[in-house]
């Protein structure tokens, strides 16, 4: 996969992830042009596009467009499912996700995406394990926010697994 974009129906970029090195200027230009092309398409039209030398697979969920650029030989349908799985993940994490969730917590969305795709390839297809990885990292965050002294405990413990057991005990 070359890149993934999330943008709203109004043409506002919500998320962008580039998996190949692209110059900042080209990125902006591509995003602008691609948004135009995709937004101009009617709902019943095909989800696949040949655009420049790329293949674009996009899908609209409510007010958000999810848009992936893949290589010529890649499978379009499976890319569509990559998008869908990503949406499922967001949905599960945020609890019936809406555009606002992604706007206000875009960094979380990035974390989920990073856990799901790495280097442009699917990393983990299991919904459960992606979310587990995210939550483990989140947990670290939440703990330290709540309890400063716990945070120091965190850094003292070397293994996450041990750490979690301790936390569980303290909290309970």
């Amino acid at each position: 996969m070359r890149f993934m974009l999330l943008f709203s129906r109004q043409g506002k970029l919500r998320l962008q992830k580039w998996y190949t090195a692209t110059a900042e200027r080209d990125k902006k230009k591509m995003v602008r042009e691609l948004m135009q092309v995709v937004l101009a398409r009617k709902p019943k039209m095909c989800s696949f596009l040949e655009w420049r030398d790329l293949k674009i697979v996009y899908k609209r969920y409510a007010s958000l467009y999810f848009c992936c650029a893949v290589e010529e030989q890649d499978n379009e349908l499976i890319t569509l499912e990559v998008i869908h799985r990503f949406v499922e993940l967001l949905d599960k994490y945020f609890g019936s996700v809406c555009e606002l969730d992604i706007i206000f917590n875009f960094e979380k969305a990035y974390f989920i995406l990073d856990e799901f795709l790495m280097g442009g390839e699917i990393q983990d297809t299991s919904k459960k394990s992606v979310l587990k990885a995210i939550e483990q990292a989140d947990l670290l965050q939440e703990v330290s926010v709540l309890e400063p002294h716990l945070a120091s405990l965190v850094s003292n413990f070397k293994d996450v697994n041990k750490l979690t057991t301790v936390v569980v005990l303290t909290v309970l």
Binding site: L13, Q16, W51, Q123, A133, V168
Partner: protein, 1160 residues
């Protein structure tokens, strides 16, 4: 982790935060305020102001020393947001790196994210990240390791890969599958951006492929897909494994976690199918292995869901790519049919795509769906329409070309996308050249293409068009007609509205008119000149086009009428700032006035006889030598000039790094020493005088203009472009002539649109279909066509047709099985091996019969590791560490199981040949007290007619003994036998047998054993012992034979057992030290331990202690001082620090450590 804990863990976030859902927007945050602020604004201008204000405040805060990391995290998120909106926040980049570096785990995550969003691979700031990544990779906190691997997989400077590669490699052995998986993907990323860097770890990819976790395994497939794409033939041995994996996946053997909408691991399936299709392409035997599983996949994927269609589509693609099998093709065709007929638009698109893909193999498939295709041709969605055109393009033949090209042009007229326009323009040209039914159609079509595609067109289109015109075909009459038609149409175009014509088209027009306007009777050159002249006034006309125009005019300028036009032009444009233009004008004027000169410079040759071109320019030799004699500088080819320039620069006062040309920055050394890169490029562009044969295959546009410019001067003999092409490319021409054929009259005519109701429309479609699909059934015998022979290569279809596939497949079995040894068969046998025998066998059978085959078994063959993936995962881990052991065992076996009697009887000399690789069977003669001690192999020292001397070195705790065996194979005794040995590095003293036995006899058919104690006087890497054996033969004649024996330091190293405390004291007492990095046995599960144990086993070192990533080792030189070694894991290496009171010792020992670790 226990299940209970795991469950608590997942439930924790909700416990900890008061908010029921952890991710809900925190409305009080500053980011929230910013976002809301932006949404409330109405104008873009306001937004800009707000963001600029925001950025200023962020900038202020990030640079303040009081900002905590937590605040920094929040600021970074806001900066990322601003960047996403398109406002630059480059000041925050460095702070993102800082955050990743200094933050605790939670802030770090945001820091890494910001870095990966802000910077791309080539950004220089990334270098600052390397250390952070290294640190986190070494962290014991899993989450930090995960974060580091994630960022490495996203963005990492290419040059710095070697720094972290060992660490990432090491992670392949991590107990946690998530770490292993991320490590594999990070390596995948490395493979993509710098394949050379990871070349050496291909074996580890195999290990990842056999990982017991399916997630890690499927991650490794990404790498395999890349590698197989690049070099399919190297991975044929893995086909069995891939097929087995796919079978298991399809059969639902994977954990349910991997299901996606109740389809087992679809991503994995598709990845495997893609790999298989690459491996099975043009390879019958390999393809045969996959038929079964492909059939199974097709059968299983029956649910009506996108994901199953995705698998089906991939299956179909694979089936049509590999060596065909009728039964599967039939099923695949049915699948394609379902796709095409599907009401879902996405599936229809894919159906068309699949059709496009297979139509060359099976044109009938397109025929079956012709009505659907016709419908798609008028589809509202341009994407569908375009895909349909692509399909039509593939089924074009001599009979349907007109209709199809018409459809393509229609689409072209409405296309707004440059990429599409260029692509379709090329396609129409290709079809027109291949299948044009007649001349006028061809010219008309090409005119449309030139007009529609305009100046973005691929440059080879005008080139090949002009070549077609100039080279012509078999029949001169036809050629003239074609040219006449072209001239006619261009004249009328110029008369209408020349300003609208694109530059490329204008160039073509001027060239054609310049060359062929004489073909048209009654067309005065002056008329043409007057038509061309206004082009020079056009404002949008480029200087290149003007040169073309003027060149054409020059060719035509004969007669007084022309002269007046020329003079008129010269007056109007004589003041132009463009020197080329002025020069050409001047030429035009001059030639127009001098008809004689014109004929000499530009002979009007109707015949196309090739001109002899003197490419060496020998006719200038006289001129050159004169100039040289007059003191001119000798000519230097451009590359030489460049070289000198570079050298000059190298001597300048600038710092070295900066003195290099920028373009060579990637490899400064190579760039400086060999300016080949430079010379190549400059050679191409600079040397215009040389019409090299290799450059001539494609007639360049520039070439045409140049002919009338500089070259016109040089080669006084006129070199018309088309003739140049002739001289340079004789081959296409000959092909062209033998294949040429008479023009065709139109075979198909478009049905006249009849007005009428919807029924009529239906009938129209039918007719269109019959036009479009005409001639498809007899695809092989596509009608001959006029223009088709212009470029022979164009005839080849893009994708393999069936016939080709089978022919190469037929070649396959014989050729392939011979060349690629790990064919399925051998893989199979190796697999048996692995499962039933292996290390145990070779160790437990001391019988000589068995010991013979054992080396073959235990030799670590590549096939071994290759087959192991065949049985997925669980078996694997065992066989790796075992590999070394059999070798040692085998050594013992061969020595111990000797039948020593044969030697002593000695009835044949051959038995005791000193150079016989078979060790002499002398071990039973070893003195009893030395048996069982570690010793080196018994090596022959020397031999003569009757005596054979061999020796080995035995290590006792406190000494090293050289044991010399003197075996007398003759009947008579060797009298007064004596051995003398000396060595610069060793003190040699006889151990047994006192001075009273100075003269000894070695009886016939016996073996005498001598022992010498060796003590090193000073350590050195290798030590040599020179000696001489002297004795008296039975006839009394003295005999003497020299020999030498090599020893190495490890023979004199003994483990030193000390406690850690004593070690510490010794360490401080020793002075001479040396530090070095050693290779680590990183493929072992515990690299440090494995490495130290290897050293212990090979070099008799004592591993005193291993604490975390450090280890201490001690040894002692025989009857000498100790040597201490301190080892620490560092960046994938073993950093060792040796100390000893003897200066040479650490150095020598280090050498042997390196050797011991290098051998496998």
């Amino acid at each position: 982790m226990s299940d209970v804990v795991e469950r608590t863990l997942t439930a924790l976030p909700s416990l900890l935060s008061s908010d029921p859902s952890p991710g809900r927007p925190s409305s009080t945050s500053k980011l929230g305020t910013l976002i809301r602020g932006i949404t409330e604004l109405t104008s873009k201008h306001d937004e800009e102001k707000l963001i600029q204000r925001e950025l200023v405040s962020i900038k202020e805060q990030v640079s303040s020393p009081n900002t905590t990391m937590r605040q920094m995290k929040e600021l970074m998120v806001r900066a990322v947001y601003c960047e996403m909106l398109g406002y630059e926040a480059s000041f925050s980049y460095i702070h993102a790196i800082k955050l990743a570096q200094q933050g605790t785990a939670l802030d770090k995550r945001v820091g890494y994210l910001a870095v990966s969003l802000f910077l791309n691979e080539s950004h220089e700031l990334l270098l600052l990240l390397v250390n952070t990544v290294l640190k986190d990779l070494q962290s014991t906190n899993l989450i930090e390791v995960c974060m580091a691997l994630t960022v490495v997989g996203q963005v990492f400077p290419k040059d710095m890969i070697p720094a972290i590669l060992p660490m990432v490699e090491e992670k392949l052995n991590h107990p946690k599958e998530i770490i292993r998986r991320k490590a594999v993907l990070a390596l995948y990323k490395f493979y993509l951006i710098a394949p050379n860097q990871v070349q050496h770890i291909h074996s580890k990819f195999r290990k990842a492929l056999c990982d017991k976790d399916p997630g890690v395994m499927s991650a490794s497939l990404h790498i395999y897909l890349e590698m197989v794409t690049e070099k399919p033939e190297s991975y044929k041995d893995l086909v069995v494994s891939f097929v087995t994996i796919l079978k298991q996946v399809v059969g639902g053997k994977l954990p349910i976690d991997f299901n996606y909408h109740s389809v087992p691991a679809p991503w994995l399936q598709i990845q495997l199918l893609r790999i298989l299709s690459l491996l099975g392409k043009n390879d019958r035997s390999t393809s045969e292995m996959m038929y079964e599983v492909l059939d199974e996949s097709l059968r299983r994927a029956e649910m009506n869901h996108n994901i199953t269609y995705a698998i089906l589509f991939e299956c179909v693609k694979t089936i049509y790519t590999i060596h065909p099998k009728a039964e599967l093709l039939e099923k695949a065709a049915k699948c394609i049919g379902n796709f095409v007929l599907s009401p879902k638009i996405n599936l229809k698109y894919l159906g068309l795509k699949a059709l496009t893909y297979v139509v060359q193999q099976d044109a009938n498939l397109a025929l079956q769906h012709q009505m659907t295709i016709i419908e798609c041709l008028d589809h509202a969605d341009l994407i569908i329409k375009r895909e349909t055109l692509e399909l039509l393009f593939r089924i074009t033949n001599g009979q349907n070309v007109k209709v199809i090209v018409e459809k393509l042009l229609e689409f072209l007229r409405h296309s707004k996308d440059d990429y599409v326009t260029i692509d379709l323009g090329g396609k129409v040209t290709e079809l027109a050249e291949k299948y044009a039914p007649d001349n006028s159609w061809f010219i008309r079509t090409m005119n449309t293409v030139f007009l529609l595609v305009g100046d973005q067109m691929q440059p080879d289109i005008p080139n090949s068009f002009l070549r077609l015109l100039s080279e012509g075909f078999e029949s001169a009459e036809e050629d003239q007609q074609l040219r006449l038609l072209a001239v006619d149409s261009y004249v009328s175009l110029l008369q209408e509205q020349p300003a609208r014509l694109p530059q490329r088209f204008l160039q073509v027009i001027s060239w054609v008119l310049g060359e062929y306007s004489s073909v048209k009777e009654g067309l005065e050159p002056a008329t043409v000149l007057r038509l061309l002249a206004p082009l020079l006034d056009l404002r949008h006309c480029s200087s290149e086009t003007k040169s073309w125009v003027l060149a054409a005019m020059t060719k035509l300028s004969a007669g007084p009428a022309c002269l007046s036009v020329a003079q008129e032009l010269a007056e109007r444009h004589g003041g132009s700032l463009d020197t080329t233009l002025r020069q050409r004008l001047h030429e035009l004027q001059h030639l127009a006035s001098d008809g004689e000169l014109l004929r000499r410079v530009l002979p009007c040759s109707d015949g196309l006889e090739p001109l002899e071109v003197d490419s060496t320019l020998s006719f200038l030799d006289g001129f050159v030598s004169e100039a040289l004699a007059a003191g001119a500088a000798p000519y230097k080819p451009p590359h030489q000039r460049q070289e000198e320039l570079a050298q000059e620069k190298a001597l300048s006062v600038e710092p070295y790094g900066l003195s290099l040309p920028l373009s060579l920055s990637s490899s400064s050394i190579a760039g400086r020493l060999s300016p080949t890169v430079l010379s190549m490029s400059s050679g191409l562009s600079g040397n215009s005088t040389e019409l090299s044969p290799k450059g001539g295959s494609a007639l360049r546009l520039e070439g045409v203009t140049r002919v009338w410019g500089k070259e016109g001067y040089l080669a006084k003999a006129a070199l018309k472009p088309e003739e140049a092409a002739k001289t340079e490319v004789p081959c296409p021409l000959s092909v062209l002539q033998e294949g040429g054929s008479a023009p065709r009259t139109p075979v198909v005519s478009l049905p006249a649109p009849a007005p009428g109701p919807s029924l009529q429309a239906e009938r129209e479609k039918q007719q269109l279909a019959s036009c479009l699909f005409m001639g498809l059934g007899s695809q092989g015998a596509a009608g001959p066509c006029l223009m088709g022979k212009a470029e022979p290569t164009r005839h080849g279809f893009r994708k393999k047709v069936k016939g080709q596939g089978s022919s190469s497949g037929a070649r396959g079995p014989s050729g392939d099985s011979a060349s690629s040894s790990p064919s399925p068969l051998s893989a199979q046998s190796a697999m048996d091996n692995l499962l039933c025998s292996s290390p145990l066998d070779s160790g437990s059978t001391p019988s000589p019969a068995d010991s013979a085959p054992s080396p073959a078994d235990s030799a670590p063959s590549p096939a071994d590791s290759a087959t192991s993936p065949a049985d997925p995962a669980p078996h694997l881990p065992h066989d790796l560490p075992a590999n070394n052991r059999p070798c040692d065992a085998q050594e013992d076996l061969t020595e111990d199981t000797d039948t020593s009697e044969t030697v002593v009887e000695g009835n044949s000399v051959a038995v005791v040949d000193p150079y016989d690789p078979e060790p002499l069977c002398l071990s039973p003669h070893l003195p009893e007290e030395l048996c069982g001690l570690p010793r080196s192999e018994i090596r022959p020292l020397c031999r003569d007619a009757s005596l054979v001397l061999s020796a080995c070195c035995v290590r006792t705790d406190h000494s090293s003994l050289l044991v010399v065996f003197v075996s007398n194979a003759s009947d008579s005794a060797a009298r007064r036998f004596a051995l003398q040995m000396t060595s610069g590095d060793l003190e040699v003293s006889r151990v047994r047998g006192g001075p009273e036995e100075e003269e000894e006899h070695v009886e016939g058919h016996s073996v005498a054993v001598y022992q010498y104690s060796l003590v090193p006087t000073r350590p050195s890497v290798h030590m040599e012992l020179a000696g001489r054996a002297s004795y008296q033969r039975p006839d009394g004649e003295p005999q003497s034979t020299p020999f030498s024996y090599g020893l190495s330091l490890p023979d004199f190293i003994r483990p030193l057992s000390v406690s850690t405390e004593e070690y510490g004291r010794l360490w401080l007492a020793s002075s001479n030290d040396i530090k070095q990095n050693l290779a680590l046995l990183s493929q072992e599960p515990d690299p440090l331990r494995a490495t130290l144990h290897r050293l212990r086993d090979r070099l008799q070192l004592n591993v005193v202690d291993i604490i975390a990533s450090e280890g201490i080792v001690a040894c002692q030189l025989l009857q000498g001082p100790p040597c201490l070694m301190h080892c620490r894991l560092n960046a994938g290496c073993l950093a060792v620090w040796l100390r000893s009171s003897l200066p040479e010792l650490p150095d020598c020992l280090l050498y042997h450590c390196q050797r011991a670790l290098a051998q496998h």
